[in-house]
């Protein structure tokens, strides 16, 4: 266990190191940060002077060494736009994103499991076809359209839900201000969470359906039937538990991916999270923020994967973590 976590920590550090090199080396292609910092009538000479001041004219190696030196002390540089440590800025926005991802995951879990199980148990019913038809639709419609359409329907036409932002927040612990504990905050969460969930939902329904169908054909499910067990127990204990093993593995990766997908959702709904922040940072060529975001997301991926492996080991008694780390 300890060995497993230590290995993961090492892997995580390597991942983040690689990300930092890659993101650092592409930053020259992102544009000129100075352009976004100054007005149109500022002369080229003036800009050059500022660029020098900010060390942007130094050779790559010098810049990267400086960056690494600071990064080792937990300092990923200051955001040009926010004029604050990039990591602080991102961490301040992280609760918003994590709440959104959490809510979307919840929706995915609550919808995909019953739907997937239903499709597996009743492969020929009309409702199954309806679900699968919808999931094809869901895969093919871009999230941007889903989001805009839901805003027009629920905010404008019906007036039930707010169209943007996070709504009322209450402080929870430390600097975490949450919208999960106010009615207003929850109302604001609904549309973005559904939009975000809609990206992954079809995938999960199909995944659960196919895994479940497979499990339903296994010997132990047949044996469970031969034992005289009731259907509910066979489906929801014997079959579902086994179905969830591969789903958890895939799901973990997908939740990581979802953090990346928040870029789109957050932009549409003006959700003040990391994803939106990142897109803005790209537009503004706020390179320290871009690099820091990529590193943080890399870290999230590593953490999520570690949690998934831990969870997997918890459910699957045949897996010992030490071995799975190899």
């Amino acid at each position: 266990m300890l060995l497993f976590l230590m290995r993961r920590l090492m892997q995580g550090l390597i991942v983040m190191f690689v990300i930092s090199i890659i993101s650092f080396s592409i930053q020259d292609n992102l544009g000129d940060p100075l352009r976004e910092l100054v007005g149109q009538s500022v002369s080229e000479a003036e800009r050059e002077k500022l660029r020098d001041e900010m060390g942007l004219n130094d050779p790559f190696l010098t810049q990267y060494t400086r960056f690494m030196g600071n990064a080792l002390q937990g300092d990923l540089g200051d955001s040009y736009f926010f004029k604050a440590p990039a990591l602080d800025v991102i961490l301040a926005k992280m609760p918003a994103t994590l709440e959104l991802v959490f809510a979307a995951s919840l929706i995915i879990i609550l919808v995909s499991i019953p739907a997937g199980v239903y499709c597996a148990i009743r492969p020929n019913s009309w409702f199954t076809r309806l679900i699968l038809g919808f999931s094809i639709l869901g895969i093919s419609v871009p999230v941007f359209l889903t989001a805009i359409f839901s805003i027009y329907l629920f905010s404008i036409e019906l007036g039930w839900l707010p169209s943007y932002g996070r709504g009322e927040l209450v402080p929870v612990i430390g600097g975490w201000e949450s919208g999960l504990f106010t009615q207003d905050g929850l109302l604001h969460l609904i549309l973005p969470a559904i939009s975000l969930a809609s990206i992954m939902l079809p995938l999960f329904i199909r995944l659960i359906r196919s895994e479940m169908s497979e499990v339903l054909h296994t010997e132990y499910v047949k044996f469970a039937r031969a034992k005289g067990l009731k259907k509910a127990r066979i489906y929801f204990l014997h079959a579902l538990k086994n179905t969830m093993l591969p789903v958890i593995t895939v799901g973990g990766v997908q939740i990581g991916t979802m953090v990346a997908y928040t870029i789109l959702t957050e932009t549409v709904f003006q959700w003040p999270g990391m994803g939106f922040l990142f897109l803005e940072a790209v537009n503004r060529v706020d390179t320290p923020l871009i690099v820091a975001y990529l590193i943080v997301v890399g870290a999230i991926f590593v953490v999520v994967n570690t949690l998934v492996d831990l969870l997997y080991g918890l459910i699957n008694p045949t897996v010992r973590l030490a071995r799975s780390a190899q």
């Binding site: 300890l2 060995l3 230590m6 054909h217 296994t218 010997e219 132990y220 047949k222 044996f223 469970a224 039937r225 031969a226 034992k227 005289g228 067990l229 009731k230 127990r233 204990l237 014997h238 538990k241 086994n242 093993l245 459910i315 699957n316 008694p317 045949t318 010992r320 030490a322 071995r323 190899q326």
Partner: protein, 582 residues
């Protein structure tokens, strides 16, 4: 009134391409306390009958005619809920593979207690108590500890005991055991069969034992029903079926069982089914023999061994840990030494986990040993780089137990067989490759047209032929066969083993033949090595090993060997043989 009456049972599998009739009007009865063997090869419909009794036919199978009565009461055509009450409560079921019939994610306790609660209506505490008793009665030590464990913590035999305990947990009147010992080692197999027999007799429970294995039939059944292609061709007492089979199919089936008393030149075929496929190879004019004349090569080194295995050790880490002292290992190969002479077949025998497959993989270069030496034709091949090993890869080929998992399902058979030819650049043109592959397919009896198909379109026996063709494609000198027929029916086994024998004779192949099946080893091998827990306990000529085993473990294995010919010689003597084993 019999316990189970099956009358005119007809089972169909309708599909878009027409209806397949799996069982064509089968009738038999089964009494309380009686064990009825239902025997036949794959596709005979024997398992389908067993499944139909408790309405567990896999879709789209349906009972299209006939009656099934349990204790005089019709149970075919019952509603879902009514048949559920029969399952577990009145009929217990034991499946073939104990590895897959228990849910891997639930403890034994969960799986037993739920069964008892639903079938006997007991509360949790009472169900737990009964579970412990049942586990004890099927011979599981420390049931209070074991019941908390997961299936993977049990060995195969122990798992099958658990499955039997679960099958008995509803106090059923009838047990259907579908190939209950096929997946188990010989010694375990005997214990399990004995257990089933004992429990049936003690509890006066009827048992329908579905199997393809004549040895199993001989050991435990009272009566036998023989099925062939959906028909019940013969029904009689075990003694009558084994010693005086009347139906020609039964006769040829019994004669195809590898004998344990005398060594035959070739395996008897199940003549009733088919004319032997494949044809003899004219080596002199054939590609397989063109490059080097193996027999000549063999003659050169006849005084020496072609393969020498010396003091080979290998251990696997079963639990990794940061600190050396916390790590656990299993010694898969312990100071193993033997030689394989040119042109002979050397058998490695032992139970699962004895390390015989590990040795095969070490020789093939798939695992590097921790220490020791492997010499092939006088050259040290223990530790070679990939490049150095390449010529040896061509000369040493492997045939695996499960041919399907060793083939890429997305490649055609043509490509699968051509792959090693291309890799070793053994042909000059694509056209030549095509003709070689077609020839090989012909020789293994699949026909030249088989190349365009994919592996999943073939049966298990056919796939094994594909893998043999692939192994031969490099014109190997040395063939390692790792349980090549253990998953196959007797008739297919006979074909494949005969094919290997022919090839060996005509090409001068040297073979390392690994099996847990002693009769097969007896028929195939010139010399034998017996392995137990990573150690080679005894090596000797086949005749000597079988007639005069030196090591106690070898004696034990030979004693456990199911013997059909015992019956044909000495009549119905089950009680005596069971007594001798226990």
């Amino acid at each position: 009134m019999s316990l189970l009456e099956v009358e005119g049972l007809r089972i169909e599998f309708p599909s878009r391409h027409g209806t397949a009739v799996a069982v064509k009007g089968v009738s038999f009865t089964l009494e309380k306390g009686e064990i009825l063997g239902l025997v036949g090869e794959s596709g005979a419909g024997k398992s389908t009958v067993g499944n139909a009794v408790i309405d567990l036919l896999s879709p789209p199978g349906v009972v299209a005619g006939g009656n099934i009565k349990l204790d005089g009461q019709a149970i075919s055509g019952l509603s879902g809920e009514a048949i559920r009450r029969v399952r577990g409560r009145r009929i217990g079921f034991i499946f073939q593979d104990p590895m897959t019939s228990l849910n891997p994610l639930l403890t034994i306790e969960t799986q037993m207690v739920e069964t008892i609660m639903v079938n006997l209506g007991l509360d949790k505490a009472a169900a737990y108590k009964k579970s412990i008793e049942l586990l004890a009665s099927v011979g599981i030590a420390e049931p209070e500890v074991r019941i908390r464990q997961y299936p993977h913590q049990f060995s195969g035999g122990m798992r099958q005991r658990v499955v039997i305990a679960i099958a008995l947990s509803g106090d059923p009147e009838l047990i259907i055991a579908d190939e209950p010992t096929t997946a188990l080692d010989v010694s375990i197999q005997n214990q399990i069969l004995e257990l089933i027999r004992k429990l049936c007799k003690e509890r006066d429970v009827g048992c329908l034992l579905v199997t393809h294995d004549m040895g199993v039939i001989a050991n435990v059944t009272d009566r036998v029903a023989v099925m062939y292609m959906g028909d019940l061709v013969e029904l009689g007492s075990t003694e009558q079926i084994l010693c005086r089979p009347e139906h020609p199919y039964t006769q040829s089936l019994i004669s195809a069982v590898p004998r344990t008393d005398i060594k035959l030149h070739r395996f008897p075929r199940v003549e009733y089914i088919e004319k032997e496929q494949g044809r003899h190879i004219d080596v002199k004019n054939h590609w397989l023999g063109q490059k080097e004349q193996l027999s000549e090569l063999n003659a050169e080194i006849s005084d020496r061994a072609l393969l020498t295995v010396k003091d080979v050790n290998l251990r696997f880490e079963t639990q990794s840990a940061f600190l050396e002292k916390n790590r656990r290992y299993v010694q898969a190969s312990n100071q193993v030494s033997f030689e394989v002479r040119a042109g002979e077949t050397f058998g490695l025998v032992g139970e699962s986990g004895s390390g015989k497959s590990t040795i095969a993989r070490i020789i093939a270069g798939l695992y590097p040993p921790d220490s020791g030496l492997i010499e092939f034709a006088g050259q040290d091949i223990t530790r070679l780089t990939e490049k150095q090993r390449k010529p040896f890869r061509r000369q040493i080929q492997m045939v695996f137990q499960n041919p399907y998992s060793s083939m890429n399902a997305r490649m055609t058979v043509q490509d699968i067989i051509a792959e090693p030819i291309r890799f070793h650049q053994l042909a000059e043109s694509e056209r030549q490759i095509n003709s070689i592959v077609a020839d090989l397919l012909d020789h293994v009896g699949l026909g030249r047209g088989a190349g365009v198909k994919y592996p999943h379109e073939f049966s298990g026996g056919q796939r094994q032929r594909i893998s043999i063709a692939r192994a031969l494609a490099t014109r190997p000198r040395f063939l390692i066969c790792d349980e090549p027929t253990s998953a196959l029916d007797v008739s297919v086994q006979a074909q494949i083993l005969n094919l290997l024998k022919d090839l060996q004779e005509e090409l001068g192949l040297t073979m390392l033949f690994i099996s847990h099946d002693l009769p097969v080893i007896l028929q195939m091998c010139d010399r034998i090595g017996v392995m137990k827990m990573g150690t080679l306990v005894e090596v000797g000529d086949t005749d000597r090993i079988f007639s005069d085993p030196h090591h106690e473990y070898t004696r034990h294995l030979i004693n456990m060997m199911p013997r059909v010919e015992n019956l044909s010689r000495s009549g119905l003597d089950i009680e005596a043989s069971v007594a001798a084993h226990s």
